[in-house]
Symmetry: C2
Subunit: 151 residues, 2 copies
């Protein structure tokens, strides 16, 4: 299924997300609505500071961003990414269309592109056979992007 990035599509994701919050006994507050809107409409992944910076001034404290993202991750609504630069990043996780994807990060400018492919799902089965359960994986690529090579 192709992504249409229409307003309606975003709105529908947003509403589904609120339903999940209700089921999980998480409260629907202004800060959380604002954060989810940004996570759904923009691409991300965002660091705490990046997401906080995108919020309208005064919506909430940076600490609330930390606490909300922890709660949203727990509820399965966002996914945490680690790119080894000392900050966590978060992106919206669409439970209806949770196709695994990964990222390519420029070593210089830290720009993040999404790679819409995943060849390693089969390996997870192998690891389950090794006796692990609740298995997941991360796959991140690093390099210097074309733009940074010129500088």
């Amino acid at each position: 299924m192709k992504h249409s990035h229409s307003h309606d599509h975003h709105q529908s994701k947003f509403n589904k997300t609120l339903e999940v919050l209700k089921k999980t006994k998480l409260r629907i507050t202004e800060p959380r609505k604002a954060m989810l809107k940004i996570l759904i409409e923009e691409h991300g992944p965002f660091t705490m500071e990046e997401l906080y910076g995108r919020l309208k001034k005064g919506v909430c404290d940076l600490v609330t961003v930390y606490r909300s993202l922890a709660a949203l991750e727990e509820a399965g609504l966002v996914r945490r990414c680690e790119f080894g630069d000392g900050s966590s990043r978060y992106e919206f996780r669409d439970s209806d269309d949770d196709h695994h994807h990964h990222h390519i990060i420029c070593r210089k400018c830290r720009k993040v592109e999404t790679l819409d492919l995943c060849l390693v799902d089969s390996l997870e089965r192998l690891i389950r056979e090794k006796g692990y359960n609740n298995v997941s994986h991360t796959l991140e690529f690093f390099g210097v992007c074309a733009q940074c090579q010129k500088v």
Copy 2:
């Protein structure tokens, strides 16, 4: 080529490593020799604290472990791993036998096993075609190990 974990094999790796240090104008000091011995002989990857804890008391300060591993990474003698728990880990990188490998980390006990396979090298070529250079990747699996499932 099969790994023999004999003393001779370790000794030979150790000596080659000292050669690299000389070529790179890095000095061969007691703390560095001790760290390299541990990295070569034990499996790792180790956090700074873990490596420091394995050193004989008084060999050096924890700060020296940080600075030395940074220098060794720069020289290509160790590889840094990030498992998203807030600490970097380091493992010895054998330039003669630098077969890419990855890890499976238990979500509970944090035990790290090595997976001697890599199916994604071909993807790196794809990313180079996208315009990136100096490309590398990380692939880590997470799960709950058999032992922790019992508890």
